[in-house]
Amino acid sequence: MSNFQEFTKGLWKKNPILVLALGLCPTLAVTTSISNALWMTLAATFVLVCSNIFVSLVKNFVPSHIRIPIFITIIASFVTIVELTLKGFQPEVYKSLGIFIPLIVVNCIILGRAEEFASKNGVAASILDGLGMGLGFGVALFILAFFRESLGANKLFGLMLIPGMEPSSAMILAPGAFITISMMLWVMNVINSRKG
């Protein structure tokens, strides 16, 4: 596989959310607004790329039976760096993402990529894989947040969409998240079945 494909596979063919169904908790929980979705993508991609680099560097020294705790420690360290940085420089973002920042640790995308890709491949390929997966994660989050924010809060990027319209609040709550992602997966299945 060429390096370019390493990067683009995360977008569609192996999209972490829509195809692999990984990392669903933050996906559904933080997509109440586009700005939350973008910050979450940034945070998760940073952790993903950094942990991919480190896992790929230490992969030869780590005995296989304790690899999982070591990977988790590496990931958790980067998550804490993100947590402290956001708290210091973007307190509003830190507050509104809340518990989902520490929960990046258990985002299955990150551990999954460390285990499946970075522990078997070189540093350069791991960086590209991390960036691609992060981008795929971000695209899915953006689409979800777009529909939920516009229908559920009558807003886009925090600005009012149609003055005087009463938004449907179920869209911003849990049911809206489940229903929107279900529709997205449905559309994706339809497109894939037309192609093949």
Partner: protein
């Protein structure tokens, strides 16, 4: 056995490096975190005690809870007959839909609210989180076509704005009249009431509850020596 030992050493080294690294990150970000919090407090104080000269932050134990409070003073009156007026600001909290909603309240000595500012909330975006929303006439499409936000627009969130002038000595009522606008002020003041956020009664109720509790705090702070001085 040596296998276990080797694993333990490797794991130990990795966690040690991680802790070492994090302690450095902490040292860099900690002053910034503290500064941000101070800044936030300062901004809130300017909002809840407008025009007052605000004193040191103090703490008092009320009902087993440590309550931070501030005392501000301002000169008031005309025709050379100036007198000093004192205002009290403190932080109060009550559980909302998410976690505790923490707000700062500014009161005069009679228990009239000079302003409130919600410091921390984790309510549902689009519903309860609208308690910190600034009523802006700017829309998304307007923004794309190059409209600018109205400079003179009031920047205090509308939900917090409607508390100004209410009295906490009486119970604050919650009415469901839809989103607040300045035209409703007179009617609501007469009833000592606020208009709840549509679809987020729990949030509105939590804020009011924390204010109604504030009467105890006010009585206690009023009797401290620094609040009493030359105010018979």
């Amino acid at each position: 056995m040596t296998n276990i030992g080797k694993s333990a050493i490797i794991l130990g080294i990795i966690t040690f490096i991680s802790a070492f690294l994090l302690s450095h990150v902490m040292r860099i970000t900690y002053p910034e975190i503290v500064r941000q919090e101070k800044e936030k407090e300062k901004r809130a104080l300017a909002l809840v005690l407008p025009g007052y000269k605000i004193g040191e932050k103090k703490k008092m134990n009320i009902n087993g809870k440590e309550t931070p409070y501030w005392i501000g003073e301002k000169e008031q009156g005309k025709d050379g007959k100036k007198e000093k007026v004192r205002g009290i600001a403190f932080i109060t909290a009550s559980p909302g839909y998410g976690e505790d909603i923490k707000s700062m309240v500014g009161l005069d000595r009679n228990g009239t609210i000079l302003g409130i500012s919600i410091l921390e909330q984790l309510e549902t975006p689009g519903l309860g989180a609208r308690c910190i929303e600034v009523a802006s006439k700017l829309t998304f499409f307007g923004f794309i076509f190059g409209e600018k936000a109205d400079e003179e627009e009031n920047q205090t969130p509308w939900f917090q704005e409607q508390f100004r002038g209410l009295s906490i000595t009486k119970k604050i009522k919650i009415l469901k009249k839809g989103d607040w606008n300045p035209g409703m002020r007179k009617e609501l003041l007469k009833e000592n009431a606020i208009s709840a956020i549509t679809g987020a009664t729990i949030t509105s109720r939590a804020v009011v509850k924390s204010l109604n509790r504030g009467i105890v705090v006010l009585e206690k702070i009023k009797n401290t020596p620094e609040a009493k001085e030359d105010n018979k």
